[in-house]
């Protein structure tokens, strides 16, 4: 009898073979459940020329990767820092023409990912996008076609398939099963849409915890290639049910980013450490525990 294989990897191992130029998606919504540990490791690794397929409303991780010169192209629905406003590095790079921007929107990214998840060649929308300027600036994305059932004009939109997606959860087991405590956002869709799925988790728990109530599991392990134990892995964003976002740190990030000093930020917080374990250990413990207690 053989033994079932563990999918546990270190942060560095998990991102080691992500090639430059890969299409990357990091899950989460705004500052909630974003797999920052994996994103930071990409920065430490010196990733280049990435094509970013973001979730429809996000920003911090993209802004940081842009500052680290890791981004070539980005599909944009909403890239911002939510209550903090615009994402400074994204804004600067886009205004300077340093990154290729594909302007799309929430349904285009969502349904593009869903089409990839479902194996559908493309998606068809009612023609509401023809009332916007999106088809003018992104004609490769929006194609008017005729509905064969009604004869009406509709809009076809292509599938979006990331090469790799990162998802952060509160709990995972060694076989890749994952549980997000904040409920399902769109992790079910992005994990199916992506060629490879890397999961980071606050805590690694026994498989029996998932088997005790399979209706709770939010990510089935069968889709997951690697599991990384990453406590505070969504910091300085929030991990629902585990800790709040780190408001003072986010303000500091934003101030530095506005002043075009994100590289200093990275040199101070991210790059000196081999991985996130060392980085988190270097942070003020009392401050972090206040975030954890906040619920």
């Amino acid at each position: 009898m053989s033994l079932r294989k563990s999918k546990i990897k270190s942060l560095a191992e998990a991102v080691a073979d992500i090639p430059d130029g890969a299409k990357i998606l990091a899950g989460g919504v705004h500052l909630s459940n974003t797999p920052m540990a994996l994103v930071r490791q990409l920065i430490r690794k010196g990733a280049k020329d990435l094509e970013i397929i973001p979730t429809p409303a996000t920003g911090l991780w993209v802004d940081m990767l842009i500052a680290a010169d890791a981004v070539r192209k980005i599909h944009v629905s909403y890239i911002g820092l939510e209550f903090l406003g615009l994402a400074p590095n994204f804004r600067r790079a886009a205004e300077a023409g340093k990154i290729e921007v594909v302007d799309v929107d929430e349904p285009t990214i969502f349904h593009g990912l869903r089409a990839a998840a479902s194996g559908l060649p493309f998606v068809v929308f009612p023609p509401i996008h023809l009332l916007t300027d999106l088809p003018k600036v992104s004609p490769q994305v929006y194609k008017s076609i005729v509905d064969p059932f009604t004869g009406k004009t509709v809009v076809a939109v292509p599938p979006l398939q990331p090469d790799v997606c990162f998802v952060h959860v509160a709990k995972a087991d060694i076989y890749g099963n994952g549980l997000s405590l904040g409920g399902r956002h769109m992790e079910d869709i992005i994990t199916k849409a992506s060629k490879r799925v890397i999961l980071s988790a606050e805590e690694i728990v026994d498989n029996a915890e998932f088997c005790a109530d399979p209706t709770r599991t939010t990510i089935p392990g069968v889709l997951v290639e690697a599991v990384v134990h990453a406590p505070m892995g969504a910091w300085p964003g929030a991990c629902p049910g585990v800790y709040d976002y780190d408001r003072p740190h986010l303000l500091e990030y934003n101030e530095m980013a506005k002043k075009n000093e994100t590289s200093s930020y990275l040199d101070r917080f991210v790059r000196p450490h081999a991985d996130d374990t060392a980085m988190i250990a270097a942070l003020d413990d009392e401050h972090l525990s206040r975030l954890r207690m906040a619920r």
Partner: protein, 255 residues
């Protein structure tokens, strides 16, 4: 301004436009609309449902008004955790009766821009992106909500159409969903606007206490339609104010 703040006034003014059969949704930076929605639920619209942005909370009863719509604490007391799948379906099918939206530019027809200011190829200001603004053509009504009022925001013509307002009636007739009515109200710190004019141009519906029609016009980059005397936005009643403060436990609307 009396014993209420401008934010509290705006919350009460928004609440007044909401109906008992509404199903509303808000996005980022929305503590004033959320307060309005909860106020409406607790007064004239107990059957109103609302989605609290990225948190997915349906009918949130969060302990306080928070700065981040996606904050998971907004799930407190909610009845359902709405996945993004449902949110987008409700947006496309018009189940949302009222969507709160905004922009970095808004023009006289309620067209909204969130993508870029200036020449698209070399923008003066790159915006965050179009997000859900295309749904202006598929939800029933849109409530434009902005946190400031100046001629750079309210412009003659938007540089990029992220969300289509009332311009181009032929195109609207052709491509907008049958049930969609487009932008219906605009609320800013200066007043309430609507589009109740024959050609659906933005009209000044009321000015907030202490603000004159000339003040609003001076801060608006296009000519506002005026029909008759412009009333003053009704201040919150004592009952409304009490409920607002029960909802806004941390006093963010009083700052």
């Amino acid at each position: 301004m009396g014993d209420y703040t401008n934010s509290e006034l705006m919350a009460a003014a928004i609440a007044r436009e909401l109906s008992d059969d509404d199903f509303a949704a808000v996005g980022t930076a929305s503590h004033i609309p959320v307060c309005a929605l909860r106020l409406a639920q607790r007064t004239h619209a107990p059957n109103l449902w609302f989605l609290y942005g990225g948190s997915g909370a349906l009918n949130s009863k969060a302990e306080s008004l928070v700065e981040m719509a996606a904050d998971f604490r907004n799930l407190a007391g909610a009845e359902y955790r709405t996945p993004l799948q449902d949110i987008i379906d409700f947006e496309f099918t018009g189940r949302f009766t009222t969507l709160f939206l905004g922009g970095v530019q808004i023009d006289r027809y309620g067209n909204m821009n969130m993508a870029a200011i200036g020449d698209y190829a070399k923008p003066k200001m790159r915006g965050p992106g179009t997000v859900g603004l295309a749904f202006t053509a598929s939800v029933r009504k849109v409530f434009i909500y902005v946190q400031h009022h100046d001629p750079r925001l309210f412009v003659e013509k938007v540089d990029f159409i992220s969300g289509r307002g009332h311009s181009g009636p032929e195109e609207l007739a052709q491509h907008r969903c049958a049930w969609a009515q487009g932008p219906t109200w605009v609320i800013s710190p200066m007043g309430v606007m609507d589009f109740e004019t024959p050609d659906r141009r933005m009209r000044l519906r009321s000015v907030h206490p202490g603000v004159t029609v000339a003040d609003v016009q001076a801060k608006t980059g296009f000519e506002l339609a005026i029909t008759g005397d412009v009333p003053t936005t009704a201040p919150p009643t004592a009952e409304q104010l009490q409920i607002i403060r029960e909802i806004d436990t941390s006093g963010v609307l009083r700052r």
